[in-house]
Amino acid sequence: MSKRQLAMVMDLNKCIGCQTCTVACKTQWTNRNGREYMYWNNVETYPGTGYPKNWMELGGGFDAAGDLQPGVIPNLEADYGVPWDYNYDALQGGASFEPNVEPTWGPNWDEDEGAGVFPQDNYFFYLPRICNHCTNPGCLSACPRDAIFKREQDGVVLVDLDRCQGYRYCIAGCPYKKIYFNPKISKSEKCILCFPRIEQGLPPACAQQCVGRIRFVGFLDDEEGQVHKLVNKYKVAIGLRTDYGTQPNVYYVPPTESPAKFDADGKIIEGSTRLPIEELEKLFGPEVHGAIKTLKAEMKKRKETGESELMDILIAYQHSDMFRLDNNYYNQVAKENGQHPLAPVDNRYIAGKHTKTGHEMKFFHGGDIKAGGHH
């Protein structure tokens, strides 16, 4: 367990599935160098196959006894989907508009399909997913190489690319399938919670760009922070599939509202709701009942009295309240450890534990770091 833990809360009542977060992440991190197929952030339709296909059935995570479960490494074409492009250049010569590969599968292949029968009782909601930066990460436990580590200062889970040798046990071990194999560099890569932004006091790109303002970011132990209030004070934000035993640190405010069903004549069935509570229970466990109860009670309170701290938080008035990332904290940490504030990896191995000369790290500004030799 790390000293402090950064967490994100996503309010599913407000996600409109616009994929702005997906695009923000992709353009920042994964549009190049073997990452083209990866979505460190994706928004899937639930119920649905998700990304990668049927990820909840691919194993990983821990059983009740605490043993890491075997898992499956998804196939690029069949499970993630090959990113395809079009022959824009050839159009000038009169060619017809064609994709460069025959698309057979891709993320959100079943977007907005959901479940049930239209128009009587069909339903779905959007489920945005990033790495959960777990307290007990399955990927970290699966790595025989000590290449995955959890930062002490904020619990962000990172891959040390210098140590990673591309065995991919981490992918089998992660129950959320949120760590990916980059075949171009033969190493595993994953969401880094935009730590270079975070260290400068900026939220991750996915959270900053979110048009629905559904994402809150902050330290779990920051009692003044909205993340702490949603997770610990009101207990309306719950981890996804906590039954996997990894103690995820991305929390979700479950969807509370859904329209009533229609009967065969197209009339509203009073008091019915389309979203089966069993589905929410499957995703968020039995705590979902308490969360929904609290949310409904606070909504009522707000209606009746005009007062509710919880509703004020969820309305998300100010980015400055939603994101509590004191960058002085990171500067302080860097100073205490004698590190470059932007050093992306811990120094255990970059120094070349067993080699005489260490490796060099290049930075764009602020000078290079030359790691030492034998300790």
């Binding site: 043993d67 075997p70 499956v72 065995y167 046990y169 990916y180 033969s186 067993h354 080699t355």
Partner: protein
């Protein structure tokens, strides 16, 4: 009758333990060993020895498909020759593999065939060699790895970030775009060869600073691979200028989803450079004392199976390393040491976090202390018997 059967069984198991691989005799050559391939002339007079590589089953990894593919994996027989000159030593290893597997550049679930050669940094005491799986705390090993891969683009720290963008997002067209793609392509590397130094799996560090010079190749010929490695006899990690040196070999089968943690490996094998010093050869290839049948009884009586899976028929047991192939890749001295001083070598690859209820070791003063009870109270003859039994625990060859 029962007694007769057990005596016969004992005789048979001892015979199989005795049929272990022999030492490899290295040939001294005068020619250069700088760039060696499987067709180099240096191999003409070299003598090939058979080595047996056993499926590594000590720690069960968590890839479901790979585990299913490797149930009851058989051992692999390889032919190895060694040559050396004043400054370098070279190995040629040939092993059968029905399919050529290449780790492909556009796939997430393909694995390449490969091989590795391991050296011990300190082998002055043959009874205390580094743990066969890439060394152990205080006992450093050096590994040279070659793997069949498509081009890989190692993050090289050379600061060439200008080429690390999607070509569609550059402002380049036509000729300029082609030139850009060509530059990017030239930065890829199809030769995967890497060298590592470490004291056990988890601590392995890639040697990137040029402090170890080696050259490695692998060629697929006639339903099998021929791999060569040539390296300096001496660098800052190992000194191979001795009458005999311990070497271990590993091979990977990409078709069986092999990668580290899932491979075939030999025990430490003596490579004889000069005749006259039999200490290492005897330690690694000498006669095993003890009665395997009595050892099996003793092992059962002492409750070894309470923590270890001993034979394939036994249920897997997470409390200790699986011993189903230990006779194949562990030396008799290692087995003896593990009985009388379990903390001398604590199997390094085990991740305690993956199985929180099964602590193979505890950390005391920063050192890993095995949770296995010390068996130094046992009679020497009894220990010899158990070691003889453990040496019989190994898969049959294909």
């Amino acid at each position: 009758m029962k007694k007769l059967t057990s005596t016969l069984l004992a005789a048979a198991t001892i015979a199989s333990a005795l049929a272990a691989d022999t030492a490899i005799n290295a040939l001294k050559v005068s020619g250069s060993l700088d760039k060696v391939t499987n067709t180099s002339a240096v191999w003409k007079g070299a003598k090939f020895s058979t080595v047996t590589l056993y499926p590594q089953t000590t720690i069960k990894m968590n890839d479901k498909n790979a585990n299913e593919l490797n149930v009851d994996a058989k051992a692999v027989k390889a032919e190895v020759a060694a040559v050396y000159n004043k400054s370098k030593i070279a190995f040629l290893i040939k092993w059968p593999d029905g399919t050529k597997s290449v780790q492909q550049s556009g796939k997430t679930d393909t694995y390449g065939d490969g091989f590795a050669v391991q050296f011990a940094s300190n082998y002055s005491n043959p009874a205390e060699l580094p743990y066969i799986g890439m060394g152990s705390a205080g006992r450093q090993a050096v590994i040279h790895l070659q793997k069949e891969t498509a081009k890989t683009y190692e993050p090289n720290g050379n600061g060439n970030v200008g080429t690390q963008v999607n070509p569609n997002q550059t402002d380049l067209f036509d000729k300029d775009l082609k030139a850009f793609n060509k530059t990017v392509d030239s930065l890829g590397n199809a030769d995967y060869e890497r060298s590592f130094v470490g004291e056990g799996f988890r601590s392995m560090t890639e040697i990137k600073d040029g402090s170890s010079q080696s050259s490695s190749n692998m060629t697929y010929v006639k339903k099998g691979w021929a791999g060569t490695l040539s390296r300096s006899l001496k660098d800052e990690y190992v000194d191979l200028n001795a009458a005999a040196i311990p070497v271990a070999f590993a091979v990977w089968d990409g078709d069986k989803l092999g990668r580290n943690g899932l491979k075939y490996l030999t025990s430490w094998t003596a490579v004889v450079l000069k005749k006259g010093d039999d200490k290492l050869v005897n330690a690694l290839h000498g006669k095993i004392e003890g009665d395997a049948a009595k050892g099996k009884e003793s092992a059962l009586a002492n409750g070894c199976t309470g923590c270890h899976q001993m034979e394939n028929a036994d249920a897997p047991n997470l409390m200790g390393p699986s011993l189903t192939n230990i006779g194949g890749y562990a030396t008799a001295d290692y087995l003896r040491e593990s009985l009388v001083n379990p903390s001398a070598v604590v199997v390094p690859g085990y991740n305690r976090n993956a199985h929180s209820n099964y602590a193979w070791y505890n950390i005391e003063d920063g050192k890993r202390v095995s949770t296995m009870p010390d068996h130094s109270w046992m009679e020497k003859a009894d220990i010899d018997n158990i070691v003889a039994y453990l040496k019989t625990l190994k898969a049959e060859a294909k």
